[in-house]
């Protein structure tokens, strides 16, 4: 199995046909401003350009890439620009759902481990000072704000349930699963979007737009 089988996760490959009369010199000259951004270094050897980026600016059109190779090849149909770009941001986003799933699992495990402590707290809670009955200011009564919930015996029965509910909330893995889903979608969007954006960027530059 070659690395190529799975390196599409963080590599973007593509090619663009150049006009038959366009020389490598002219094509690279048109693309040159893209490699003169802050934090970008590049070197050219013949028909090959290699670049590297460190801490690119947020608005750098190629900020999502850390490096790559652009090559101009000539075949029967005419000159073609082939590129292979590497993005750690895409790789990071690919693994982010796993990270958040791990956070979710960790939350579940810690929630199970927390049970004895919360029971202790419940015992302590019986002796703890409780908040007095909530009173309502006459201004709020006059303005028609809803009355605060009354504490009655029913509430006392519910107290245990509420504590359990609060614990469940504290150790709920739901948000971790939601973010795992968000990052899975973000990866798919990013993988497609960034490939299209960089292709469009090269095409416009080569056309002199």
């Amino acid at each position: 199995m070659t690395a190529r089988f799975f390196d599409w996760i963080w590599h973007i490959r593509g090619s663009l046909a150049l006009s038959p009369e366009q020389t490598s010199e002219d094509a690279f000259a048109r693309l040159d401003p893209l490699f003169r951004e802050t934090g970008t270094s590049h070197e050219r050897t013949g028909d090959t350009l290699t670049f590297r980026k460190k801490d690119p600016a947020a608005q750098d059109k190629m900020s999502v890439f850390d490096g790559g190779v652009l090559q101009i090849e000539r075949d029967a149909a005419g000159p073609v620009l082939r590129y292979r770009l590497k993005s750690r941001a895409l790789l990071f986003c690919f693994f982010a759902p796993l990270l958040f799933l791990a956070f979710g699992q960790l939350t579940v495990v810690l929630g199970k481990m927390d049970t004895p402590a919360s029971e202790e707290k419940e015992k302590e809670g019986k002796d703890a000072k409780t908040s007095p009955e909530a009173t309502m200011n006459p201004i709020d009564k006059w303005l028609g704000a809803p009355e605060p919930e009354k504490k009655d015996d029913k509430d006392a029965d519910k107290k245990g349930d509420k504590k359990e509910e609060a614990k469940n909330k504290r150790f709920s893995p739901t948000s971790a699963y939601v973010f795992a889903g968000i990052f899975a979608v973000l990866y798919l969007v990013g993988r497609v979007l960034e490939a299209r954006l960089v292709r469009g960027l090269f095409r416009r530059r080569l056309a002199g737009l």
């Binding site: 958040f100 939350t107 809803p146 919930e149 909330k169 990013g190």
Partner: protein, 327 residues
Amino acid sequence: MDGVRVGKRVIGADAPVTIGWENIPRVEGSRFKVLFFTWFQPAVLFGLLAFWYYAPNSIAKASTVIGIGIGFKVLLLTLEWFFPRHESWNLTWKELTTDLFYVGLGYTVLRLVDNYIGDGVMIEAIQHAFAWDKFTWFTGLPLLLQAFLIAFIFDFGQYWMHRGMHNWYPLWLSHSVHHYITQLNINKGAVGNPTELFLIGLGIGGFFDFLPRAAILAGVFGMAVSTYQHINVRFNTPRWWRFVFNTTEHHSLHHSQDYEASRSNYSGTFIFIDRIFGTCVDGEAELLGMEGGRRMSIREQMTYTFTEGWKTLKERFGRTATAVPAE
């Protein structure tokens, strides 16, 4: 660069800033657009205050707060997309992913850690230790006054913590990472070294266990005022609003590449706290960040606080590198 004298300070000597409300551009276009961007902020604030004031007890709970909060963020992201304040702050896929990663940390692992140490535990301790019967004078106050006092006390604490972060090196190590952001977007408030996110305490949700309605109303100030600190949208903020509340303009100046400008506008909600203590500067900036606007990678954001701290410790206490010749 000459800069502009504001009180005893010269603002804008290192990087370009705009000082004075009269010099800040206003929203232009159709009558509807101008009206919308003039009244959007007050309408949302008063609308939310009215909603939570009158919402039945069955609705006035944390899950509704979270739902409205997420919906509001989506609305603001849409505004950023269609009406950007600066094109140089436009949200890219990489910026959005980075911001959401930090928002995700806040909702998951930081909240989890918060159960054991930090404000989550402090709130629980307060709830257990407080002599509630001596607190009835507060719970008997009008709801909106309670809400304002909770929001103000919280922001007053934030002001001094934030000012401390800019003046005491160990705290600055933690906060400096947030100042490496080079543009403002709606979720940028979450970006920073986790030690800081932890320090400022994302988990004020714990307070919802008591004074629920007043606490939710206090939270409205956070949502309908503080959120605008990091937003790439221009509003025709009313004069009274920008005198009382923090705005994007104030906070962009705080994130400016200009050193003196960054030492202003520390409050999160009530800019009048800065006015009281002489740290308020009215104005805005577009060029943001540190080290001339170097954007940090997530990896460096995670480690910078510790690596810089270690470097400083080594410089101060480490052995000198000078070789001692053998006799």
